[in-house]
Symmetry: C2
């Protein structure tokens, strides 16, 4: 059996590895367009900011590892240019040569790419892929005043790093507060205030109209001086290769079922290139995040190799950090709940992150959304200096298992004065929604 | 309606507060034996160690707060000496006077007390209750060489603090490694190694046979020089007052149903004085921990005031910290699973706590136990520098909802390189147990 994986990022390499585990005898080939595989786009802002110097740390495992330890053929600088799904053939450019590759099973893990700002202005840098990281780092070091466009996770992280490098930073965001796509107003405003407090010039409710060599014009007619523009205005699924051959979903990514099958039973999609069911709404949802890439890769790989794993769906558990405070959300936020036509109630609680007598820590905020009629938890947001990821995970588990606020209240959270509270803030937020 | 609460700790004050919320017209009285209420025994080691100087930080809210804000009568230095449950009368000593108090509803929240070492040797200090804290702090400051007896949570924390104060510390533990009641060998050995690495003289598999003024004799015949002995050899439920009147469970604590009713429908118990159902085994389980005290107090208070809340049961989610690393467990450990006659499988994973390129953090270990036949998660242990409490909470939610390893694998954990991994260690540990 010939299993072909297109895309050597997190999803593709996870798929290849699990296909290998399930099918020791299969031939498995991965095509990767760039020179880096098994990579971590989430690290790019920190590479730019100089938190680490070794570019190759952005690669979890190298080609040699996959070849020698997992018997997986990995071709880098190898771009799939043509695909004929029905004939089961891919034509790729591999190191300047065109090669025709046949497959029995195909796994599409072509990922996402940055949305372009003002079509394709050469003076605008993008920092989505590790392949962009080195150029961005050099440009950032040379710059004095930088405009970052887009106040989502990536924009916030890049702005923080540039500020740490001593640059004057403008952060332009079309929404009413930073991370407005993911966070509700309470947490998003807190993040915005932190960024401003750290000296970042945050411009809200505006977009970029024009980029010149030394300045940027905004939609409100104002100008920002800047000798570098970095755009982080979102990503879009990278589906050119499969367009017209695989069914796409409403978000423009490849539609899959819970086996990660895409249109045909011998074609699978995983990672940022696919869209899956949202676990709350049941509707297609696009959530281009590393943990989903890893898990959907596993499911696609196992099933491509003849197994039967089922991916139940996604929640959109996303976290960023600005200086000492992590901000995250999981499930639906208020906007998404409204759009889904769900009547909901909310609770919000802020406490110190540690026992009142224990030094260190800071404030932690937990917000919960529950369906009004049933009390079932449909979303949560957490901000704090510690224990953010785990608490979001607790809320994720609650949502997946359709727990009510009462149920979540009784989940036994651990406590230690050094990093938690005897009344855990998740429990307190659930208590606010509980009927007593 | 007259609601009487005996015990002004976490459980008692939670009960009183929620009874008030449910029954605005009730008379609510709390009897507290010591001079401090709403207190945090978990802070005592850190008060001894000087992490904070203000003793009253061990009290979350004071008497004035409860009187004025919640209309709850709180009597301190008020010890209930006699109880007649059927006649609904308590005789208490309140500031030297004997007082007779009648009640319609009784909430027993008398807590736990330290087990005594070698009957009651006056030269041995106990550090369970905030009322002990000041004497212990002074004794510790004056001492040069200290023997701490008991290597559970409290003993480990006290030993760590004494070491930070510059004392020579012996830590005597009867088990084969520290925290052997809660942790399996892998995590417990790691903790033991840390403690030894920090210069604490850990003595395992021995008990104390004799305490003299300047030295301690151990069960293996050896001697330890020490001018102070602090015992932390466990606690026992404080049930003298109710013995013979309320049914006790196999652990010697007050038996309750899920409404926290104790023997009579007008008597409730909460906190360390009661034992409840273990959510995995269904058997009575005693878990004297602050979060359980808080929640069982809420349930007892609401129900005493005429409500109907149900406490589903306990898991024993317990966390300690030694220097930079928190250690915790939830659900059953291997010993408990064996004792319950459950055939189980385990997985264990150690990764860095942060993305490989992100500075800081350390190693995080997650161990899971699942029932062999079903794959249902029955317990977990986590050790690491960050995100320990939240991850234990995720495992707790999984256990409560009878998730299999497959289910837990698909819980969407968040990720940020600054404090997590794209493959969260909980997900990796679940993956090890998953059938692919």
């Amino acid at each position: 059996m010939e299993i072909l994986v297109i895309g050597g990022g997190a999803a593709g390499m996870s798929a290849a590895s699990w296909a290998r585990r399930k099918a020791p005898e299969a031939r498995i080939t991965v095509l990767e367009r760039t020179n880096i595989i098994s990579h971590a786009p989430c690290g790019v802002p920190y590479y730019i900011g100089g938190l680490f110097k070794d570019y190759w740390l952005l690669q979890a495992y190298d080609v040699k590892f996959f070849r020698e330890r997992r018997n997986i053929e990995v071709l880098t600088n190898a771009e799939a240019e043509e695909l004929d799904v029905r004939s089961r053939v891919v034509v790729a450019r591999v190191g300047g040569q065109r090669a025709k590759l046949e497959f029995d099973r195909l796994i599409v893990a072509t990922g996402a790419r940055p949305r372009r700002l003002l079509s394709a202005d050469a003076r605008v840098l993008y920092v989505h892929h590790p392949a962009d990281a080195e150029a961005a780092r050099r440009a950032a070091e040379a710059a004095r005043e930088v405009t970052v466009v887009g106040g989502g996770v990536l924009g916030v992280e890049v702005a923080e790093q540039l500020r740490n490098m001593g640059k004057a930073v403008h952060l332009v965001h079309r929404g009413p507060y930073l991370m407005s796509r993911d966070l509700d107003e309470e947490l998003g405003s807190a993040l915005t205030q932190m960024a401003r407090g750290a000296g970042i010039d945050v411009r809200l409710g505006v977009t970029v109209s024009e980029v010149n060599d030394s300045r940027v014009r905004l939609s409100d007619g104002s100008y920002l001086n800047s000798d570098l523009v970095i755009a982080a205005v979102g990503v879009e699924p990278n589906v050119d290769l499969v367009r017209g051959q695989l069914r796409l979903g409403p978000h423009g990514a490849i539609a899959v079922n819970d086996r990660m099958e895409a249109t045909y039973d011998y074609v699978f999609a995983a990672g940022d290139a696919m869209e899956h069911r949202n676990l709350v709404t049941g509707q297609p949802y696009w959530s281009p995040l590393a943990p989903i890439a890893n898990k959907s890769g596993l499911v696609a790989g196992v099933n491509a190799a003849g197994g039967d794993k089922r991916f139940p769906g996604v929640l959109g558990d996303i976290v960023t950090r600005f200086e000492g405070v992590a901000f995250g959300r999981v499930g639906l936020n208020e906007r998404e709940a409204r759009e889904a036509g769900i009547r909901y109630v909310t609770s919000i609680i802020t406490t110190r992150s540690r026992a009142r007598y224990y030094p260190g820590g800071g404030d932690v905020t937990v917000k919960l959304l529950a369906e009004e009629s049933s009390g079932i938890i449909i979303g949560g947001q957490v901000a704090g200096p510690e224990e953010v990821i785990g608490r979001l995970g607790v809320i994720a588990a609650a949502i997946m298992r359709r727990m009510t606020a009462d149920d979540l209240f009784f989940v036994e959270m651990g406590y230690h004065p050094s990093s938690g509270r005897a009344w855990d803030p998740v429990v307190l937020a659930a208590r606010q929604l509980m009927r007593v």
